[in-house]
Symmetry: C2
Subunit: 194 residues, 2 copies
């Protein structure tokens, strides 16, 4: 199988590539993730995924790889993006907002096809419903420190599973890598996955 | 935290207990899983989970543990249970049936409370939708051997993720352990999870 450059510093995404038995190398794209253009969350996720691809191409000026993959995941509540929390108080505010209701997790996944010099970019939108939470449950969760570095102040693949009573869509997309959409994209672009 | 006897030989379920940082020991219950009574899938799952608890209690005749947990997962298509495949041909027939549509995954989870000598048993029913599959995709999947030992001839936590375009309910329940329901059950039974 042809090697793929994975434009991501996320260990979780590296693990997905290993699970899929794909040959890959890692290049962490240095992009500014601030939403200066105030795009809607769906457009922002796609824009960030594409910019990660572009950053890697720019870094590799002399040699265009055959394949580059990137992804970007955002949490959206009532149309607004919920980012990572700066401190415990901010994380608590976020969890209070998420408790007892559903929010959307938007993941854009992009595949650069070096032969055609084209980038395919697709979106998965999945819903996550949190159960109602008591304050002591939120404090217990904050003590686990899973909120650190996590958009929405929780990790779906961690202890937050105790609080999530339903999802609709793709679990893997919520965890940051929409496996089905990526597989379809590989197939549609003629990648020989066998 | 009080130790829990996990009445399950499933490595996946052992991993869930580790992720939840629960102190536990393993006792594999030897029960006959055949559906001789031809129960509806929901009742069968509950009956099997309870029988696993009873089998462990019977084995420990002199000493009743404080807590025992068991679970049972079934795949249901049009009201009928789809079991494990005996061979590759049977697995192929199952995957052809599942492709391009949704089926239900039913997991019963039981918790025996040794102080009250009572078993609490709860059910999660989640839907899994497979994308349409070409015969070569099914053959590719069969080559991975994930069908072996798996109800429904697939592993949601494995390469079958390439084919699953949507779930509704609990990913962990589909993988065999409904984390949220289990957490709720622990809380409702007064287990000190901290």
């Amino acid at each position: 199988m042809e090697p793929i450059v994975l434009a991501s510093g996320s260990i979780r995404r590296h693990e997905y590539f290993k699970t899929l038995h794909l040959p890959f190398s890692i290049m962490v794209p240095g992009i500014d993730e601030d939403n200066k253009d105030m795009l809607p969350p769906e457009d922002l996720a796609k824009s960030l995924a594409k910019r990660k691809i572009e950053a890697v191409i720019k870094n590799l000026s002399n040699r265009i790889p055959r394949w580059i993959c990137s992804a970007d995941t955002l949490i959206s509540l009532d149309g607004a993006v919920i980012g990572k929390s700066k401190n415990r108080e901010e994380a608590k505010e976020t969890l209070v907002k998420l408790a007892g209701r559903s929010h959307n997790v938007i993941t854009a996944i992009a595949l650069f096809n070096g032969r055609e010099r084209k980038t395919d970019c697709r979106l998965n939108i999945s819903a996550v419903r949190f159960a109602k939470l008591q304050e002591k449950e939120i404090e217990w969760y904050l003590d686990t420190c899973e909120w650190q570095g996590s958009a929405g102040a929780y990790k779906v693949q961690g202890l937050a599973a105790c609080f999530i009573d339903r999802i609709e869509g793709s679990y893997h997309s919520i965890a940051g890598f929409p496996v089905h959409e990526f597989y379809k994209m590989l197939m549609d672009n003629g990648y020989d996955y066998s």
